[in-house]
Symmetry: C2
Subunit: 248 residues, 2 copies
DNA sequence: CAGTGGTCTAGACCACACC
DNA sequence: GTGTGGTCTAGACCACTGA
């Protein structure tokens, strides 16, 4: 990063030019995991205010190039991890090959949007299973799976009153049903305070929200809302789940 | 938006609390398309600096709740547009039901990442077709489709030297091949300056990058990199391409 | 032209990690 | 403690839109 000053002739925003310069430096002069100089030093080195430098770093972090941790520093991020999210039709979550970890389960009224998706009454309680996905030593996603009790086959023993135990029970009962189709959507969202804590990020961090509706016998029987860390994940489909690509 | 001041007792960031308050106000007191007060007025009304207010607005814009246009103002955004991106195996781009508009085509060496995907030499020129997708009167996505000339069936007339004509020719020749599987990945990116201009956004705006590799007879024959406006698009899969969901 | 959002500055203080 | 990134302020000027 030999550059010390940047002189622009074009009315191109400083933070944009800065981002370009830093991006090139990351490619040529830094290794994955290596620490950058601190923000105050970088700002001084490029002759800009710290806020301007931070705009550039924000961009690079959004693109998954950098990793910033309060009290620690800024390091070069490893390539994004590929996570397979192909809708495998005619299967239920928690089946073979599913590496999500069930962490909790309660039976409460879901968010309004979920109730609409499940076509249940807005205040009707549904089984709410929380699961998380760990890849390369890091929690990269969290999922809430919603199942109306009415959709599940009745059993004598309802299992544990709450917690992971109960979650396993719900998933097991779900697998007794004949699976059908899935509708899925992906959009950009931002992490809630609690999600951010569990994903080791700051509130409002960008996440990829994957919403799935499970259908059996023509009726919705479950809905899942999974939030993936947008900075560290690449969602993949198809046979070769992780083919390499770094955009831009 | 009756709130004039906000007093926090928790050490919750101001911009976060502000975002929550504004979000609730958008739900209850504003209609789609309605203009918000300008930033200086809003900041004064909530007793914060304009930069802090802008942090909150940035978030809401990222979530697709707001639409900001320089020189004009800030308005409440309509719900995101659902765009079907299911990999329809055994089909080529430009086939029936494909509503993308071919705008340009040149034959040049592709970015290094694309060459790697296509398993061609880094400096080998490939047909590069640019297409754009319009939904609800707005360009919501742009795609670059890369096809190595060697993969296409040879023809006597190579068509126009460049432009949309040439692009149509490339797509037509592609459809003569036996289609195979597709590998697809989705990740968060940021718009280049040119993309941003064509998508009517600012440089660095968040986009959903959909990368597709088309395989025929076990070999990669084409690659596509599509960038969707993350603020206005929801990518959908499955039979019912647009089912409603608004997260958070 | 006036009004909007976008950029930028030079500070200050806070929350957190690590020693 | 010290050093890091995160938040916040109170200004200033610029680029753009539309009357």
């Amino acid at each position: 990063m030999g550059t010390t000053q940047l002189d622009q002739q074009q009315p191109e925003p400083k933070h944009w030019h800065l981002k370009t310069v830093l991006s090139a430096a990351l490619d040529t002069e830094f290794a994955v995991g290596q620490a950058l100089p601190n923000e105050r030093e970088l700002a001084a080195r490029f002759g800009v205010a710290r806020a301007t430098l931070r705009q550039a770093l924000d961009q690079l972090e959004l693109e998954g190039r950098l990793q910033r941790r309060r009290g620690v520093g800024t390091t070069v991020a490893p390539p994004r991890v590929g996570v397979d999210v192909s809708p495998r039709h005619h299967t239920w979550p928690g089946g073979p090959g599913d590496t999500w970890i069930t962490t909790d389960c309660v039976c409460v009224p879901p968010p309004a949007a979920v109730a609409r998706l499940l076509e249940t009454a807005p205040d009707a309680p549904v089984e709410t299973v929380r699961r998380s996905l760990v890849a390369q030593g890091q929690t990269v996603a969290e999922e809430l799976l919603y199942v109306p009790p009415a959709a599940l086959p009745p059993v004598g023993d309802r299992g544990a009153p709450h917690g992971a135990e109960r979650g396993h029970g719900v998933l097991a009962r779900l697998r007794l049903l004949e699976p059908g189709e899935q509708d899925r959507a992906i959009e950009l969202g931002s992490a809630t305070a609690e999600q951010a804590r569990r994903l080791d990020r700051l509130p409002g961090s960008p996440v990829l929200v994957v919403t799935t509706r499970y259908v059996a016998a023509g009726r919705p029987v479950a809905a899942a809302v999974a939030t993936y860390r947008a900075d560290t994940c690449r969602l993949t489909f198809g046979n070769q789940p992780a083919f390499p690509f770094s955009a831009s």
